[in-house]
Symmetry: none
Subunit: 161 residues, 4 copies
Amino acid sequence: MKLKTCVKLCAIVFLACTCNTLKAQNPFDISLAQANEIILKAKENAEASNVLVNIAVVDAGANLKAFMRMDDSYLGSIDVAIKKAKTARYFNTDTGELGELTQPGGFIYNIEHSNGGLMTFPGGIPIKNKDGIIIGAIGVSGGTIEQDRAIATAGANAILN
Amino acid sequence: MKLKTCVKLCAIVFLACTCNTLKAQNPFDISLAQANEIILKAKENAEASNVLVNIAVVDAGANLKAFMRMDDSYLGSIDVAIKKAKTARYFNTDTGELGELTQPGGFIYNIEHSNGGLMTFPGGIPIKNKDGIIIGAIGVSGGTIEQDRAIATAGANAILN
Amino acid sequence: MKLKTCVKLCAIVFLACTCNTLKAQNPFDISLAQANEIILKAKENAEASNVLVNIAVVDAGANLKAFMRMDDSYLGSIDVAIKKAKTARYFNTDTGELGELTQPGGFIYNIEHSNGGLMTFPGGIPIKNKDGIIIGAIGVSGGTIEQDRAIATAGANAILN
Amino acid sequence: MKLKTCVKLCAIVFLACTCNTLKAQNPFDISLAQANEIILKAKENAEASNVLVNIAVVDAGANLKAFMRMDDSYLGSIDVAIKKAKTARYFNTDTGELGELTQPGGFIYNIEHSNGGLMTFPGGIPIKNKDGIIIGAIGVSGGTIEQDRAIATAGANAILN
């Protein structure tokens, strides 16, 4: 971690702890406010692209933080979206990049059998805060894999501006 | 069902189908807009009571529709909230009432072993629309069982006003 | 087995094997025709009693043979009905009688944890053929436990007349 | 949706609600009468083709509605048929078309690890009502994949005449 980041983190923790009006928020984990912002941005992006998706956000511990299923989107995408988000955080990677290694003959062929089932095609993206720390992940399912990836990326980027 | 209810259902279906700006919304199933309204109301209620909870909403088919975990609420409550919502819809009942029958010596002792795990203490409530049709269910976990039940009820009632 | 039963079985097998127009039907296992007769009788009985139920029939190997869910019956009863039928065949017993032994302090306390989940309250009944051989089991869920048991019994008895 | 469809849906809802002898039937979900008609047609078709199959029907929420296993058909086909039906409804698609995308190198390689196991070869078909609304799905297993697909299709079409 850079010195600048460390100073920032200290300031955040110090302020959060000492200020009466704020609860201490772990700067290493996603907050519900951030998760909601991310999901709403992803949904907005999906609507603009006319795609019906399921959107899941997990926290730094890979545990479900928030979820939303658009009307008439696939029922099967509930689990796919959640598993994409988990997979992205399990290995801190774009799920599509992981998938390049899991093909027959690949380095981690059939790793999908671990962790109660991984999803290794595009649509899962780690969520980073402004300091580059991974605080969770987003998973999107319902469109084409490229649409899912674009929507997930738009969501993840929502808290960087 | 009452005649008034029938006429209403027809009007809903007809308007939804013929109006260009609306997609046909199944009046027998919860919409995402309704699920969000319910979750936000439940969250508001939890904050007002100073309780940290997980809130899950399932649709008429008992499939996850929306979910939200408040910061610092229990990790173990993710699955409890989802299972409470599913249980409430599986048997169209307040999960706490079901629990009265599942105790040792009760009529349906150990029914919790079905459906991949049921939750049979308070916090799961069916969601009805204004016509009394069950369109989904809400599950809340994180507070005392009475707090969870009150928050779930407040959520479920949000779409009745 | 009684001599009379043995002679019957031999005759059945002999006829089944030698007769061109008949397929050999294993007299130790339920046929689909029998399962359908049983389910229809159970459904008829449920309708006459104004109860909405799920009805499952398993074969001699405790594998699902036939299933039917009445409109508006509980979604949670799908798995309960199937598990009742399996439990009844797993232990060749009325599931309600098994439940008397699984209570706290009972001889087989918490046996519900085995076999992927057992249901040990009334509604599961072994199916016997006219010779008293157990060829499968029926499970009913959706009414009170006594209604479920009565409907299951009516179903099981359908092939005895 | 077309105006004609809307008027039809309204008429169905209105008639169902107001007629004393009928319960309100959700026009967006399959009824048991429809499921039975579909399964019997599929069975008839299988018998005519001399194929032994398992046939499963799920509702709009992907929950099991009806099931039937022909005598001497594969035991392993119970779960395959049910999973084919669920998969077809999860993604509103012919399971065989899904399978073209799940091969090594395919867009959604290994998606089968989601939803507790998907079946992505032919034999699962969405069930539509006369207005083109998907109200459930059928899954058939026991013959060749082309036989299974043909039988499932015959079943699904039974309610269109």
